[in-house]
Amino acid sequence: MFFNVEKNLNYFKSKLNNNFDVSSRTIMVGETKLGLLFIKSLIDKEVFVNSIMSPLLEFEGKNLNFEILENDVLKIFELEKIETDKDVITKLTQNNLIIFIDGEKGAIATDMEKAPVRTPAEPPTSSVIMGPREGFVEDVKSNIALIRMRLKTDKLVIKDFEVGRYTKTKVCIFSIDGISDTALVKKVEKKLESIDIDGVVDSHYILSFLQEGKGLLFKQVGTTEKPDIVVAKMLEGRIAILVDGSPIVLTLPFVFFEDLQSSNDYYTNPLYVTFMRIIRMLGVFLAAILPGVFLSFRLYHYKALPLKYLITVANSTQGLPFSPFVEMVFILVLFQILYEVSLRLPRYLGIATSIVGALVLGDTGVKAGLISSPVVIIIAMSIIAVYTVPEQAPQLTVLRVIFIFLGGTLGILGIVAGMIYFVNEMNTLNFYDVPYLAPYAPRISSDLKDALFKASVTQMEKRPVITKTKNKVRLKK
């Protein structure tokens, strides 16, 4: 940095490749020359005029220095003295205005953010019938506000990090002092500090670094888009990780049964919730193993099928050109293609594709004698069942393919073997020292109140044991 304003402005402009949106202005305030440097696209012009230009032009003194500027002239909160070239560049790219004073060393940076912010709306993946409809947005400051609005306590601890050599993405760890496990917070801090990557565009980048061990098939970190869920999880002793630019908040520690819980569950009758969670669990099983089981019975154990059902299946599969295994794989691939297409196409075209896929391809395929209707029904049921627990959709899709292969080659014993193998694999996982299938394996009696069965809030007197919280009492009677 130089003492001369013009030299400073030119130097930093060239440092930023003389990009067109890097602007500067030189003004005289009294007898002092000031240099203003900013990135046009990132600053709020209204704030710039009202909070910076007006006070400067109204200043009636002769000489100006950083102290006077900070204490008497600029009436804004965030002013920071910076001394190095690196700081100037960083602050510039983080929506700041940089002010140089002729003859003075260093500069002052002030936040002028004008980021395009989406209004908090209900997230598409976790809508509720009764309950808060706010969802996180891409701006981390708004997300922090959404959490702070619900956690009005001095115990809330936020630690922020800058991750990504180019993106300098802000990552914040949220915990509650006295409730969250400090060892876990330290562990996550260490992991975040050790990340040296060129850029972090979304929270899923951070998620990949938080994963432990080899069990990559299974989800290891909780994800949500709703602030009420984050706060509820933090009150249970978990920690939350917010990433600037992503509406998905990560929570730790995570267990499999968390995904069976929905935000709706906490705003409705517990008995109904228990029933729905059992249905979701059934959905998980159907999504993963139903096509495999059907295939194994059709190929190897058709005698084990009830007679009436066997006749129906036999009638509808007569004269098919493909073997049951090929037919199942063919329909599965067809459904997955339709699914991918409907996700990527514009909404109106997506609806049209669904009609073409489901009605035209399915119906015509069956009528033409290329595929059988039981297989279409089984695959459709399995794919629909995935969305009882949408957070587990990727894992269930992979498992479905594995179970089709097991059922098609080894029969029902293969399916049972697969189930035992995968449950055993899940039981070997201890992400962040928490058993993956807790509170069922190992059984933790006190945590069963909010697992598959849901107790009323008045009965959940203690926080879950798995979060290793120090402050165990939740409800004082």
């Binding site: 190897y300 009830p306 080894l410 293969g414 073997a417 035992i420 449950v423 055993n424 039981n427 190992p442």
Partner: protein, 371 residues
């Protein structure tokens, strides 16, 4: 991380081990030999098995953190301890062969027509290897996870069996002699060594207040289930019980509660399939632990590849003569069981009692001094 399982998990493993070997061919075999007296025989053998577990728990209470090998070395010396461990390894190996062969026959009859044993092994071996290799913690947790489903399955079988009893008749015991009872008990001793695995994992059970009671409660629960199962089975088939070799499936074959849900034997099949994988996993884990105790250096170099190679070699050797081994097992297995489940436990009982008396004497002397 040191492996450690809770008393509940240990209890569930005991339940599954005790249950899984007694619901297939044993009811009909015992009936063939002794008629309705099989009920008394099974009661005596189950009591004996429960007593064995009780002794093992007492042993655990006495030597909380020691492995069974360390306990044996302390009492009998290292060489004898190794010999006993070798016999245990042999037992586990034979038990696996027995398990595979019996269940292969059953599943071939019930669901896998024309299936060859190689196909059965292709499914069974990798899974039990994975279960055993991943360790006791995950094995116990997996058992804990499926336990409820297995119990529900067994209860369904019992309920459906009960519903198919047309008339209750009191069993009559004919031609019963002490010699026949003793012979039968001795012949089927091998089938009642399911708790041998408990000795191998004895140091890995976490000790908390009432841990022994928890384990025993699961065992009593299982005892009750098995005994009720035998009563229902004999009541369903009465004098033709000896003809039904697949007791758990056959017990529901005559039920009139089928309605629109035909083929309820699937419930029994699933119960059997789930339990054999656990039994196989636990037996293989115990076998591996015994071998690594006999050859301690192998613990350091043990990894997945050596584990798999050892297991495959052992199985190749045994499966070329599975049927022969099965016959040998029926002829000579009882002698192995006699040593492991009668002589060793009796010695251990004496050891526990003798040691208690010793302590009492010492305490008495101390009190005298204080007075």
């Amino acid at each position: 991380m040191r492996e450690g399982i809770t008393s509940r998990q240990a209890g569930i493993l005991c339940f599954l081990m005790m249950m899984s070997s007694k619901l297939l061919a044993l009811p009909s075999i015992l009936f063939q030999e002794t008629g309705y007296f099989a009920l008394v025989i099974i009661f005596i053998l189950l009591s004996f098995e429960t007593l064995l577990l009780f002794i093992f728990i007492k042993l655990k209470e006495k030597y909380i953190n020691l492995t069974f090998y360390e306990i044996l070395s302390k009492i009998l010396g290292k060489i004898v301890a190794k010999i006993i461990y070798f016999l245990f390894s042999l037992y586990f190996l034979l038990a696996i062969v027995h398990l595979i062969y019996d269940n292969f026959i059953y599943l071939r009859e019930a669901i896998f027509e024309e299936a060859r044993i190689e196909r059965f092994l292709l499914i069974f071996l990798p899974v039990i290897c994975a279960l055993a290799y991943k360790g006791l913690n995950s094995l116990a947790r997996t058992a804990e996870f499926f336990f409820v489903f297995i119990v529900i399955g067994i209860v369904c079988c019992l309920a459906l069996g009960l519903s198919s009893i047309s008339e209750f008749t009191l069993p009559t015991f004919e031609n019963i002699s002490f010699g026949l009872t003793f012979n039968t008990l001795f012949s089927y001793l091998f089938w009642f060594g399911d708790f041998a695995f408990f000795l191998i994992i004895i140091d890995k059970i976490k000790v908390k207040n009432g841990f022994g009671r928890t384990i025993m409660n699961y065992t009593y629960f299982c005892f009750l289930f098995i005994f009720i199962f035998y009563i229902i089975f004999y009541e369903v088939y009465k004098n033709t019980s000896f003809m039904h070799n697949n007791a758990i499936t056959d017990i529901i074959a005559l039920t009139n509660q089928v309605g629109n849900l035909e083929k309820l034997n699937l419930i029994a099949l699933l119960v059997v399939m789930f339990t054999i994988f656990y039994q196989g996993g636990v037996l293989l884990y115990s076998l591996n632990q015994s071998i690594t105790t006999i050859f301690p250096k192998s613990i350091k170099v043990q990894n997945f590849i050596t584990f798999i190679i050892t297991i495959i070699l052992l199985f190749l050797f045994f499966f070329y003569s599975t049927q022969k081994i099965h016959v040998y097992l029926e002829d000579y297995g009882k002698y192995l069981a006699l040593i492991l489940f009668l002589i060793v436990p009796i010695y251990l009982i004496f050891q526990i009692i003798f040691d208690k008396n010793k302590k009492k004497i010492k305490k008495g002397v101390k009190n005298e001094k204080i007075n």
